[in-house]
């Protein structure tokens, strides 16, 4: 079963009705698709929501990799391109995303984003070049580091700005992306930041609270 018409029908349904379909039957009738094929491919609506996000990420990542090779991007530029392209790609689903993820409820809907977050963290791990940050990450429990990174937190902030952004062509989001990504890389390269981390490491080793 082709996924993209299902994404289109589902996002359209949620946006127009401001709710989930009550049942698979209701959605399949609306989208004019075979319920058996739907159950085999997606099973439940949560999978549509999750796969929509990961599909967008996969497509964006492919474009960014291609652009990085063509333009000989630095890591910083590749990261900027990722954020800009993600915001652009999500633009196709903006009405749905604004309906489904109102800012105040975004935190409660983290389940939808879990596979996206994992993918994001895995693909962008090499952006972090600071040895001490990577050392710290290696010490943290696997589950936490698989789903959380400082860059992902940066993306979450940008996504919230994007959801609230009513400026023309989401120019505020553009500025937020530049600011967030530059801060991330500037901090990674900052010697003072390394010293703070080193001090934190020392405190942890001495087991004496600050």
């Amino acid at each position: 079963m082709e996924k993209s018409p299902v994404f289109k029908a589902y996002t359209e349904f949620v946006w127009l009705n401001n709710r989930e379909p009550h049942s698979i039957a209701e959605f399949c009738t609306y989208a004019n698709i075979d319920p058996v094929a739907f159950k085999t491919t997606f099973g439940q609506f949560k999978n549509i929501r999750q796969q929509l996000l990961t599909t967008v990420f996969d497509e964006v990542w492919e474009r960014v990799e291609q652009a990085a090779a063509e333009n000989d991007y630095s890591l910083r530029e590749k990261c900027l391109a990722l954020f800009f392209t993600l915001a652009e790609a999500f633009g196709a689903y903006r009405d749905y995303l604004k309906t489904r993820y109102p800012l105040k409820e975004l935190g409660a809907l983290v389940e939808d984003w879990r596979p996206f977050n994992k993918l994001f963290v895995a693909k962008t791990q090499h952006f972090q070049q600071n040895e001490r940050v990577n050392w710290l990450r290696d010490k943290l429990p696997g589950k936490l580091t698989d789903e959380v990174s400082s860059l992902l937190m940066g993306w979450n902030y940008v996504f919230r700005v994007w959801l609230a952004d009513e400026s023309e062509e989401q120019a505020t989001t553009d500025a937020a992306i530049e600011k967030t990504v530059h801060l991330y890389f500037d901090l990674s390269e900052n010697k003072q930041f390394e010293k703070v981390l080193d001090f934190g490491k020392f405190i942890a080793t001495t087991k004496v609270r600050l």
């Binding site: 333009n71 391109a81 800009f84 652009e88 553009d174 500025a175 992306i177 530049e178 990504v181 500037d186």
Partner: protein, 299 residues
Amino acid sequence: MENENDKEKSYDSIPTSKVQRAMKVMGTGVKIGGNYVAHYSKNLFREQSKEALHEKNAETVFEALGEMKGSALKMAQMLSMDEFTLPESYQKVFQQAQHNAPPLSFPLIQKTFRSQLKKDIPELFDTFSREAIHAASIGQVHLATKNAHRYAVKVQYPGVADSIASDIRLMRPIAQKVLNVPQNELDFYISEVQSTLIEETDYLHELEMAETLKKACLEIPNLHIPSYHRELSSERVLTMDWVDGTLLTEWLESHPDEAQKKQIAQAIWDTFLFQIQELGLVHADPHPGNFIVREDGTL
């Protein structure tokens, strides 16, 4: 002295929200206060000229304006043009605003082309400089080529249009207290900056005005106005022919001979006299950063 990396870093981050921009203005006030304290402390032991203090303050203010870009930087640019309003050291530092500013990332430039012109850069140009060649208060200029023809492509900073009104309000106390600009001068500048900026954020409007001006000024001797390219322009991207030459202020510093200076002065005089007397339209942004003297001695 600030190193290049620090400078680049400070320019890379544009404070966008009203609160952030207000914090920047407050922080600038605190720094200037510090400069005064340092000045009077030093004076207890030795003489330090008022001009040196002005210069230090001017650098502090310019640093903050550079980070805010947009209307704040534009105000610095316009103030620097009036030699009677500001101390000389402020004028000197603020003149940087006329042809020197902060870069936007290349991915954002690419994204702007996609959203504004619905095409990627390689579909429009054979080559395109990744780094900005020049920067102005609300945009930066890249050099591009197509079929061996060179173009200057100006790309606007994101969010400029949205921050105009709040910037103007934020800049008012700085301009009044720190720069000691008289109230009547301030009102004039503020209304001028605001109306100019609103117009300047629409590059298609600029294109139309430039085309009108070019067509009308064809007969003026020693004046060359570059051609603009509508098919390569939009509200936030403006493309015109690239012009080789030297910025007017730099050209004057190169000590050209009297005849050359008279030729350029005459061209400027003829142009503005024609605009005022014949055309009924005046180039509203005549700061030296907008004038280039070409190798053949024409403007």
